[in-house]
């Protein structure tokens, strides 16, 4: 104990690089973004004025911004729900003692692979596959499914569907691995005790599995939300980089990038977009985390005690 105290101040030495790096590359850029969002600064001129909330007023009056926010939420939700659904199904299959599915490691390995692919390459790939003269059209026309090739790239619902599909395709494997790890970490003795008490499999799922995997589900939900709200590569490279057709896949980050990359380089306005989405996402993510986490502590402790 005495010895430990003597050494404890060395901790500062070890964490100092992180703190300095965080201040330079993490915190200051955030503060700088906040500052820029109150100005009319552009990349083209050295002078600028403090305009306070003008950028934000313009932003909330701007239909494009509202569209981008709604799109991002919709695109994220539409991929997250089926992603969670399939992952749940797969983890239940893989951990089911009665079914005894063979080769779980191999299945999981294959399902996770798309997650490591370069998102920009995947978007460019799907752009080629679904282009007017691309392989998908060739296939459906030649095999007689449709009489005429479909102009996928100009159809909003098709492009939205594709963004959702690619996101789902890239992430369901990872979600499965996380859920499965949480399920296999549950002690078998809990289920045995429940069986003795005459519980059915649905009851066991609802009262043992679900409460115990809740922390991991929260982790998946929060990290997926944070990633989803920053979605850029796939919708950007799938069409013309402006969220076409008809702003249907315009996301927050594309919107921010377009302001940044406009002819004047409006970094004040771009920062305002970044800041609003940053605050929106952080608040929702932290709320989910802290609200759900408090509740889950109780049943776990109770469950352990009962056992």
């Amino acid at each position: 104990m005495f010895k430990k105290l003597k050494y404890d101040h060395y901790g500062y030495l070890f964490v100092a690089p992180f703190i300095i790096g965080f201040l330079i590359f993490g915190l200051y850029p955030v503060l700088n973004t906040v500052f820029l969002s109150f100005t009319d600064r552009t990349l083209m001129s050295r002078t600028f004025n403090i305009t306070w909330f003008k950028n934000f007023q313009l932003l909330f009056a701007d239909k494009t911004f509202i569209t981008a926010v709604t799109n991002t939420w919709e695109l994220w939700l539409m991929n997250f729900i089926p992603q969670m659904g399939i992952a749940f199904l797969l983890s239940v299959f893989f951990t089911n003692l009665r079914l005894k599915i063979k080769g779980v490691g191999v299945w999981r390995m294959i399902f996770y692979m798309p997650n490591l692919m370069m998102a920009s390459a995947i978007a460019a790939l799907f752009f080629s596959l679904f282009s007017y003269y691309g392989p998908v059209n060739q296939f459906i026309v030649r095999s007689g499914f449709v009489a005429e090739a479909i102009d996928f790239i100009r159809k909003p619902s098709w492009m939205r569907g594709l963004v959702v599909f690619i996101q789902w395709w890239m992430w369901f494997g990872q979600t499965t691995i996380l859920l499965m790890a949480a399920m296999t970490a549950i002690p078998v003795s809990l289920y045995e005790a429940a069986l003795v008490d005459g519980a059915g499999s649905l009851q066991m799922f609802l009262h043992i599995t679900l409460p115990l995997i809740k922390p991991v589900m929260i982790y998946i939900l929060v990290t997926s939300l944070v990633g989803g709200m920053q979605m850029f590569d796939i919708p950007y490279l799938l069409t013309d980089g402006r969220g076409s057709p008809g702003n249907s896949i315009l996301t927050n980050t594309i919107n921010m990038y377009m302001k940044f990359h406009s002819s004047k380089g409006h970094i004040g306005a771009a920062s305002a977009v970044g800041l609003v989405v940053f605050l929106m996402t952080s608040i929702v993510a932290l709320l989910i985390f802290f609200l759900l986490r408090e509740k889950h502590d109780e049943p776990v402790k109770n469950g352990n005690r009962e056992k």
């Binding site: 010895k3 404890d8 901790g11 070890f14 964490v15 690089p17 992180f18 703190i19 300095i20 790096g21 965080f22 590359f25 993490g26 200051y28 850029p29 700088n32 973004t33 500052f35 820029l36 299959f93 079914l99 599915i101 390995m109 294959i110 399902f111 996770y112 692979m113 798309p114 692919m117 370069m118 998102a119 920009s120 390459a121 995947i122 460019a124 790939l125 080629s128 003269y133 392989p135 691995i177 996380l178 499965m180 790890a181 991991v216 982790y219 998946i220 990290t223 944070v226 709200m229 490279l237 980050t253 921010m256 970094i267 920062s271 970044g274 800041l275 940053f278 952080s282 993510a285 985390f289």
Partner: protein, 281 residues
């Protein structure tokens, strides 16, 4: 009764396997088409889908180069950034995590909570402030702005902390102190060698993330010969390549295949690593 139960299980099992096979096909087909098309001529690609490779790999490569896309250079640029980012991320994450695990200093809990919050915050949205700050420092269009942020990677510290806690042996540290080793050399000579498997997993994730990163490089890098692979891919959609499908697919395949190889070599580390940061939280 027993028999019918058994049959029921078999029927269920059949449908589960069927479902799995369908999912595998969905997972693999896009990647397979990409690789196969990289070896086919544009004419073949336009004539229809094939699941078998052809023999035009080198022709496509020559077309790609002739149109001014310096694939080898982009490859080397991406590799340089990814390797340096990996080294920096792994080293500093281990250093920070070691500090958090071994020493009970004032503010340790606060720092740990900061990491937790940082994982839940969309830091990428401060890119504009980051860009403007880097241009003040003269670091735009420089790899330093892509590599150095690896020093403060909250997610990696989180993983490293989880890992160090699981392998930490206090006696080894005490023994080192008795031998008169400094705290830093205990970390370097005793802890790091034990932590190699964890550092390896951490490194794979850092490498892949850096290799695939498009957005930051896209914002920060402007000089053509500093372009990374994903940035080159973005130029593939331009008019120059309009009718060179074979070459486009080859460019895409070149950025994806190295990762597939790494994955098949180290999938055990990767799959086990995914849940490490999350499950033991």
């Amino acid at each position: 009764m027993n028999l019918s139960n058994h049959t029921l299980t078999n029927i269920q099992r059949f449908f589960v396997y069927l479902f799995l096979v369908v999912l595998v096909v969905i997972t693999l087909i896009p990647v397979w088409l990409l690789i196969v098309n990289a070896t086919r001529s544009t004419l073949e690609i336009q004539q229809g889908i094939s699941l078998l490779p052809s023999k035009y790999l080198m022709t496509n490569y020559r077309i790609l180069l002739s149109k001014g896309l310096d694939l080898p250079l982009g490859f080397m640029n991406s590799l340089t950034i990814a390797v340096l980012t990996t080294v920096i991320t792994v080293y500093f994450s281990m250093l920070t995590a070691y500090g958090l695990v071994v020493y009970n200093f004032k503010g340790r809990k606060t720092l740990y909570n900061l990491m937790l919050v940082l994982v839940m915050i969309p830091m990428q949205l401060s890119i504009i402030g980051f860009y403007q700050w880097m241009s003040k420092l003269g670091l735009t269009d420089s790899y330093a702005s892509l590599i150095l942020p690896g020093i403060a990677s909250a997610g990696s510290v989180f993983f490293a902390k989880q890992y160090l806690e699981s392998i930490m042996i206090q006696d080894l540290i005490d023994a080192g102190r008795i031998d008169g080793a400094s705290e830093l050399s205990i970390f370097h000579k005793i802890m790091l060698p034990i932590a190699v498997p964890g550092m390896f997993t951490l490194g794979i994730f850092a490498f892949v993330a850096s290799w695939n990163n498009f957005f930051n490089a896209f914002i920060l890098i402007t000089t053509r010969n500093k372009y990374t692979l994903p940035m080159l891919i973005q130029t593939l959609r331009g008019d120059v390549y309009r009718h060179e499908y074979g070459a486009i697919y080859l460019g895409l395949a070149a950025s994806v295949v190295p990762i597939i190889i790494i994955y098949f070599l180290f999938s055990r580390y990767i799959v086990n690593g995914i849940s490490m940061g999350a499950v033991k939280e």
